[in-house]
């Protein structure tokens, strides 16, 4: 049992110190430029956060297709709706706490119900925002967006996947929510790693339990699996960037093969990836589950790595969740 070669991860994936470190928002920046080069209809809107959301990289390349909104996330959503209604492919950029945090109704009505293909980029999601504190640490955004009909929700695991997700969003005919982080995290996928909306990828094989993860905690899930292997516990790790639509086949497969599932995400345990996986398994193949994420609480100031640990989303917490879920496994059916 080991890394799935089909995932085409970097060669030295377990050597944390050797990996390049980049925030997923960088992948948004490079993805925007590539999407803009491919399609002249791509326009980028930003609510006074060009540098930190990396929409500035698009502005530098295509200034005539960059639209400044000022600190006005509600208007950004409605203007983008109009631009897409006319025929542009708009990306709206802010922190997830504000977009979709503040403009949720505008996204629901003028984008999703209106069936207008706006792409919503929520940066600085999760406690890993760090010192800025709870106001800026969106932990509810995936739930807010997933519950809206027609919305696709993507949570990329590293900068390379973030770039792929951004380009895929531009080509997708409907509205898309893209979630990015502020803090640098290991780049462990490659250009060859499969990515598609609606698809999950098995990163590591295992028979004793399965971890289904999204976002930058996917790498910690892999590290947890490595640690567990030293104890003789073989854990499958599935990267599920497409929280909606969920890759039911891939997740059911590991649930059947292992009989125990842990979800891992930098989000409230309610309404995010964990909720989506639980809804799937409850209907199709119930197995014991544990949920790693924020346990119905707000974040606070601190250093990103420190907060990930304190809020129970670090490698030790993932390992503990695997141990716990395995104690609840029932005999094979």
């Amino acid at each position: 049992m080991s890394i799935n070669l089909q995932a085409k991860l970097v060669a030295n994936v377990t050597d944390t110190t050797a990996l390049e470190m980049k925030p997923t928002r960088d992948g948004y920046g490079t993805g925007l430029v590539k999407a803009g080069e491919k399609d002249p209809r791509v326009v980028v809107l930003c609510a006074d956060l060009a540098e930190s959301t990396r929409s500035q990289w698009f502005r530098d390349k295509f200034p005539e297709r960059y639209i400044e909104l000022g600190v006005a996330e509600q208007n950004m959503a409605t203007v983008a709706s109009g631009l897409a209604n006319y025929g542009k492919i708009p990306f709206i950029s802010s922190y997830a706490a504000f977009s979709p945090g503040r403009n949720n109704e505008q996204i629901r009505t003028t984008i999703a119900l209106n069936n207008i293909p706006v792409k919503i980029a929520g940066a600085h999601a999760g406690v890993s925002v760090g010192p800025d504190g709870a106001t800026h640490q969106a932990l509810e955004d995936v739930a807010l967006m997933s519950v809206i009909p027609r919305m696709t929700v993507l949570v990329p695991c590293d900068a390379i996947e973030a770039e792929k997700a951004t380009i895929a969003a531009a080509e997708h005919p409907g509205p898309v929510y893209l979630r990015f982080g502020r803090e640098k995290s290991p780049v462990f996928t490659t250009a060859e790693t499969p990515f598609a909306i609606g698809k999950a990828v098995l990163l590591r094989e295992g028979k004793d339990a399965a971890i289904v993860a999204c976002g930058m905690l996917v790498y910690r899930a892999l590290m947890a699996a490595e640690e567990l292997a030293k104890e003789g516990i073989e854990v499958a790790v599935v990267n599920s960037p497409s929280v909606k639509p969920l890759d039911a086949d891939a997740i059911l497969k590991v649930a059947r093969e292992t009989g125990a599932v842990v979800t891992v995400e930098e989000h409230q345990v309610h309404g995010g990836l964990g909720g989506a996986v639980a809804e799937l398994l409850a209907r199709a193949y119930p197995v014991p589950m544990e949920f790693v994420g924020a346990q119905d609480r707000f974040g606070e100031s601190g250093e990103p790595d420190e907060l990930i640990e304190v809020f129970g989303m670090g490698t030790p917490a993932i390992i503990a969740a695997v141990h716990l879920v395995m104690t609840r496994k029932v005999a094979p059916r």
């Binding site: 000022g70 409605t78 203007v79």
Partner: protein
């Protein structure tokens, strides 16, 4: 005297507006729910838009060069539906399906259901931003069509609209014309009691818009204002149209309680008694001097 519309055409549109009001009352009675005051008050403006001002093609609602009319206060959609039906977008008979299961005429308008409504709306304050987005995109591509956004007065309580007002002015979206239905009522009462809006003109001017004020029941004035807006190149224009809510039926006019109920929706409310539909249809004021001249 107008340079943009002949007296004969004005007369013709006034008659048309009255026919549309009759359809409006009939559809609201058939629906058994819906808004009465706002739609009646905007009948003259919607008639002027669809039968004179807008470049559009009822047989080809997706025509790419059409003028766009966004309706921000979606709850007055019955007047849009009635006017569109009279303009030839769909059969007038279909108006009776308003708010019924399976209808294209949803209680609040949906773009996906009915071609030609441009946008799904209802939650207030978000139409102007969408209209500004279209205007911005169209200007990027050198398109010549114009974008209109009909708004209520009370939706100016909402912050989103003022964000959009700032954006449109900052970008000098002169291809955008706002139209405010200044009827002074909202659900909880008179606008100036619920949340004062005045001085609306001064507010828009302070936000660097060109402001025109018209009698919203004077088709000539409204058409002239739309034409003047075309001639303003350095800023967006807003037309504050002073209207009478419930215009055309004396019992409804000026009464804020008619905001969200249909005729005949009684039996307990005296202002919406059970058998009043026929009486209202009979009362609808004809051109016997009532529509325009009473404001002269």
């Amino acid at each position: 005297m107008s340079h943009y519309i002949h007296d004969e055409k004005v007369k013709e549109l006034e008659v048309k507006a009255n026919e549309i009001r009759k359809s409006l009352i009939e559809m609201l009675i058939a629906a058994g729910s819906g808004h009465t005051a706002g739609p009646l008050g905007m009948a003259d403006i919607f008639t002027a838009l669809y039968f004179h001002v807008l470049k559009h093609d009822p047989k080809n609602p997706e025509w790419s060069e059409r003028d766009r009319l966004f309706l921000s206060n979606g709850h007055i959609c019955p007047i849009r539906y009635a006017t569109m039906a009279h303009a030839g977008y769909f059969p007038i008979e279909e108006l009776k399906t308003l708010r019924k299961f399976g209808t294209r005429l949803q209680g609040h308008p949906e773009r996906e259901k009915l071609p030609g409504v441009e946008s799904t709306s209802g939650p207030l304050g978000s139409g102007l931003g969408q209209a500004a987005g279209v205007a911005y995109g169209a200007r990027m591509d050198g398109k010549k069509f114009r974008v209109y956004c009909a708004m209520s007065d009370a939706e100016h309580d909402a912050g989103n609209i003022w964000e959009s007002v700032m954006f449109a002015a900052a970008n000098k979206l002169s291809n955008l014309t706002g139209i405010i239905d200044r009827n002074n009522i909202q659900i909880n009462g008179i606008t100036e009691n619920v949340m004062p809006l005045e001085s609306l003109r001064a507010k828009y001017e302070a936000f660097n818009w060109h402001v025109l004020e018209v009698d919203g029941h004077n088709i000539e004035q409204f058409v002239d204002a739309c034409e003047e807006a075309h001639a303003i190149y350095e800023k967006p224009t807003v037309i504050i149209a002073h209207t009478i809510p419930g215009k055309g039926i004396e019992e409804i006019e000026f009464d804020y309680r008619w905001h969200g109920i249909p005729p005949g929706s009684g039996p307990t409310d005296i202002f919406a008694a059970k058998d009043q539909g026929a009486a209202f249809l009979a009362e609808l004021r004809t051109l016997g001097g009532k529509i325009q001249s009473e404001h002269e």
